[in-house]
Symmetry: C2
Subunit: 220 residues, 2 copies
Amino acid sequence: MYAQVVQTDVVGRIDPLADSSAHGPLARWITSVPIKFGANREIYGEKEPADYVYELVHGAVRTVKVLPDGRRQIGGFYFAGDIFGLEDGHEHSFSAEAITVSSVRVIRRSTLTRMARDDREIAERLMTITAQEIARLHSHALMLIKTAPERLGSFLLEMAERIALDGVIELPMSRQDIADYLGITIETVSRTFTILESQSTIALFNSRAVILRNPSALAA
Amino acid sequence: MYAQVVQTDVVGRIDPLADSSAHGPLARWITSVPIKFGANREIYGEKEPADYVYELVHGAVRTVKVLPDGRRQIGGFYFAGDIFGLEDGHEHSFSAEAITVSSVRVIRRSTLTRMARDDREIAERLMTITAQEIARLHSHALMLIKTAPERLGSFLLEMAERIALDGVIELPMSRQDIADYLGITIETVSRTFTILESQSTIALFNSRAVILRNPSALAA
DNA sequence: CGCTGAATTGACGGACATCAAGATGTGTGG
DNA sequence: CCACACATCTTGATGTCCGTCAATTCAGCG
């Protein structure tokens, strides 16, 4: 169930220090106190009613679907300022998990749509966010028909755009997460990182910190 | 540009015989006269402003993206009663093409969203259609991480649900279309069809007409 | 009929998965 | 601060699925 929305255990407790002045896309309307989730905690589960929409205040989140045979698909990654949980209609088809410690603002979907009826700006923001989500899914699908180096290239370019600081990408997710997002194995991810580094297309501080030395080479 | 919306050439002409009593999901609001497109005609192009939303009255439509190197990705298939063109925000990231002769009702997106402000039912239909589109994209992405037989299986099950009549699936699209939708080659599609037939999982009247003899085997 | 594009079938190679071993990093407790 | 344990990541050897290239069959149409 969606007990985690009100959970108060050690990791998922309400954070009294949360900065509620942070200004995400829906911050003016999602005014609830952020809820904190520890690394690898589930925020919502597959098949739960999709009654809430979430704004990630800080941290990193992945959406996950596990197939009967154990294969795992990552639907997407979300970072500070992103909205997630909008993915579906009636019930979630993916679960959402915190990758690192994350804090999340929650709003009832029904509240949001009711507000959207009265406020044109909210309605438009909702449309925009949905359109972005659809665009993201399109580019994800597009990636899944490419070769392994191309997939990793697209991934790194996407991450560069979304979370790079001073040209350094600090990847919060594991190789396994990347592999399941790209639809390849962890070994292929690792090997491809090595190849890209040997070509000086990228540089690796450590396995989680990347610099793009030649971004245009990644596009091809 | 989006000239085809008003195009009047031999194939894309306005069809005086169109049955405007057909009742698709938005039929009560998309009241324009259907426009007819010949097989393989473009309905809208990639990068065009996404100003219109389309309801397919009859026929079959594919959305297509062609990569710089010539690889082709099919985003989705649409059949009678389906809404398409909603895929994106500001401009289309795919083009839409009629697979067979098709007739299409068109409405300005801005008209639709204006109507949605006044009419709660329209707003909800729009939400539902968008949610379905997102769900479709999710299951498409999920398919792209599977093996070739699994991809074709998912595809056939999807088609069975959407266009089967008396247990017979009449596929309007070519093997190349299927291949580009599934992210595999036309040869692999063909071989997999043959294998499924030899297992009596499916039966083929001809290359375009399929019967599912053992649907549960397709799921695996 | 013969022409043309679509679909099937075959032979072969390559990209990526699988299986397995090592290396590196990280947290915990002494 | 070190030592051990455990997880993560990398690297290597081998296998296999599917892509590529090519030939043949089939279906529709003038």
